[in-house]
Symmetry: C2
Subunit: 463 residues, 2 copies
């Protein structure tokens, strides 16, 4: 008898197991296989893609090396070396976690966990039964097809399959300008591929949580690097031809490419887990219905991560696992939170958002003000040869931070310093008098807050 | 008649001028020459050194390129290119500021500003007189000699002269293991020089504000990169020999080097500014005496930056300029602050500290607890091939943050997210339940806070 069984040892599952252990619960994990510990994020998502993105970033910086007195004699690419490095990091993280769990005496049961009743999980195919007071569903999500784009690992790849390609494509056609699409477009382009990137909507990263400015900056940069960005465009039809792909696009043009990468569509793993039989309710799209404490329709069964909403982020799952476990312990201070959840994309820029965009804040009826500061004149960014982008604050009439949108160097880390302040309810009055170091990228954050607190001091606005 | 005259257009001066302008004051600047606008930090300090440090960092990363599938065919160094790039950034920042000041109608008077009375500044040699209600002294500091080590720009360089060398030294002897010494040791080593680094004390960065762990990590890394780090060692004697330097060290050994770089000793520029004649008091070491609002012994004359204390940091001066100007405006909420002032060194690691060390906190009588988390297992740091270092928190019995010490990737930016929380009086209870993104370096900050809030979950401590 456990205090807690967690179905799924992905980001939410393993973070939840560690947190439950910290809080004194007797916890166990159920995962499909030893190779899937860490889930999609670790094994075929954010971790391997951020690894390759680092390589792409370093390649892009080669253009500036001469300015640093470094004269390159040339370079080649080796996908084999890249994959070895990448898979080494993934393996290290996965094996470390398994050893750590063993060390902490957190058992991981391998197989498919299915609910038998509200306190019992059956491991298939062995039929072994585990019992617990609480169950946390952390089963994640899976890739899906898109019309006649059915991933086959030869002509059409999804994000489960793309890691195994044997050589860099001469040309790749990427469908979907969301996070996956823009990240791989940058990676493939920097490693020498021609890239066509299709997005059905009128901008890249077409999420209401991400401001249009971020989309525009990113599209401009990707185009400058040679990516053929086609907005409001889809694949009308495609067929294999001489081992490659010939695709007809919705604008009537044709693209020949080595393969198509599908960067769209994931579905929550909420089938065949026994939810229906024990009475855990789902919504029409297959997501598990949860309250603000991640509790499902059965009070001792909780859910976190990709199965609770379309916001499929590893750290959403990690956070929700903590929300659920805190609630099991009788605490109500932690609650589900999607608006402040950081959304960070690592493409030709780091694109980071948390909280409301200007449009969202207006819709919610706030007296909205926006403050922007640029990295262009930031001395640290200039020193680093990486001075493009901006910090954008959305505040209410009193200067309270409602949203923060950063695009540029280290945006993904910089966002956190604002995120903490948003969560603490602090505003630009606090931030504009903040201590900071010089030179630092963080100065641009202080500067954006000063623009709001004291009014703009810019070339254009004073005359 | 101005509201405010600022003597010195360095970091404190120009940041102060912009802040005064924002706050509606009629302000003017006095600076020695157009080439010195921006002061030491911009022209021969943090900005050009951070530029070269970026080059050094990129060179160091070359060792890992193969892991990212990038096979280099070789490379050469060109000091000429490096200097062009570096000086271009410095010039751009300097000229941008001058144009911006002109645009905002903030006059810059060139010459030496000397106090005639409490409201009058004479510009030498022209003799022009300016009058103002308030005066802010922001005259900065200068390099000084060290015994028989007198900078001559040939055998002995100081940090005013080092920028002009014509070629990378084959071997350089650096005196002083403080910020300047460890930064240049890394830069020269990465650009191919042999480096001997001397520090008279028993550790690098021998400041009570920086924990011994940071010193030890940095020394270990510098040694691994081939820097000959010699602690408790000084130059006993030296002489020129065949156009190079032969130095006898305190341990009896001899070092032959192309030149000696002096990384120690700066003195405040408080002579011949007319302080004595108008009655602005100085301490025994020549620093201007100021109260917590940066006010000198004359109530309408303020001082900021290098002349107020031995903590000579550009951003200390920027912050104190704001403290002074706020006080001129009748506000008392901003006060001088040295403990929380971030101290950031960019060497083979970024080394960042703010607030108290463990030792300082104990001396102040706190019930001290320390929490540490490592970057070694941080997935983003692993992806970036940059997973060395730590986050170290010093908290009181209630978990309030007293100090934060980060060594490793982006330490200089990461520190700011903790700095804001320290300033807001928040603690590890807040931070340990924080939202964060995965993967991110910031996760290690959350992890360090969880170690403190929930107790350690480490390999060693549980068994």
């Amino acid at each position: 008898m456990y205090d807690l069984i967690i179905l799924g040892a992905g980001s939410g599952g393993y973070e939840g197991a560690l947190y439950a252990h910290r809080r004194g619960l007797k916890v166990s994990l159920v995962e499909l296989s030893p190779e899937m510990v860490g889930g999609n994020c670790l094994n075929r998502g954010c971790i391997p893609s951020k690894y390759m993105r680092r390589g792409a970033y370093l390649i892009e910086k080669f253009k500036k090396l001469q300015d640093y007195g470094i004269i390159l004699k040339g370079y080649d690419f080796s996908l084999k070396s890249l994959k070895e490095g990448r898979d080494g990091v993934v393996r290290t993280i996965r094996e470390n976690f398994k050893r750590f769990a063993e060390h902490l005496r957190i058992p991981i049961f391998y197989g498919k966990g299915v609910l038998k009743d509200a306190n019992t999980v059956v491991i298939e195919p062995s039929g072994m039964e585990l019992k617990a007071k609480y169950i946390l569903l952390a089963t994640g999500s899976s890739t899906s097809s898109l019309g006649n784009l059915v991933p086959d690992g030869r002509f059409v790849y999804d994000t489960d399959q793309i890691w195994n390609i044997e050589s860099f494509p001469k040309k790749v056609l990427i469908v979907g300008g969301g996070a996956v699409g823009v990240e791989f477009a940058y990676i493939f382009r920097m490693y020498g591929s021609d890239v066509v990137l299709l997005e059905i909507k009128d901008r890249l990263l077409p999420s209401p949580d991400i401001p249009e400015e971020s989309s525009r900056y990113l599209a401009r940069k990707l185009k400058k690097l040679g990516v053929d960005v086609k907005l409001k465009t889809t694949i009308k039809d495609w067929l294999p031809e001489n081992g490659r792909v010939r695709a007809t696009l919705s604008d009537g043009s044709e693209v020949f490419a080595d393969f198509i990468l599908l960067g769209v569509g994931r579905k929550p793993n909420t089938e065949s887990v026994g939810l229906e039989s024990v009475g855990v309710e789902k919504d029409q799209k297959g997501f598990v219905k949860v309250n603000q404490f991640c509790q499902t329709s059965l009070p001792n069964i909780y859910a976190c991560g990709d199965i609770t909403s379309p916001l499929m982020l590893a750290h959403k799952s990690m956070y929700e696992a903590k929300v659920a476990i805190s609630h099991m312990l009788g605490e109500e201070s932690l609650k589900r939170e999607e608006s402040l959840m950081p959304k960070i994309i690592y493409s030709a820029y780091e694109v980071a958002s948390a909280g409301l965009t200007e449009e969202q804040a207006e819709e919610e009826g706030y007296d909205v003000r926006v403050g922007v500061a640029s990295f262009v004149a930031n001395p640290k960014a200039m020193d680093d040869g990486d001075n493009e982008g901006f910090v954008r604050f959305v505040v209410d009439g009193e200067g309270k931070l409602l949203g923060c949108h950063i695009l540029g160097p280290e945006a993904g880390e910089l966002l956190h310093q604002v995120l903490h302040l948003m969560r603490a309810g602090l505003g630009v009055d606090f931030l504009s008098h903040s201590l900071f170091s010089h030179p630092s990228l963080s100065e641009t954050i202080v500067q954006a807050s000063m623009e709001l607190h004291f009014g703009p001091i810019t070339w254009l606005k004073r005359h």
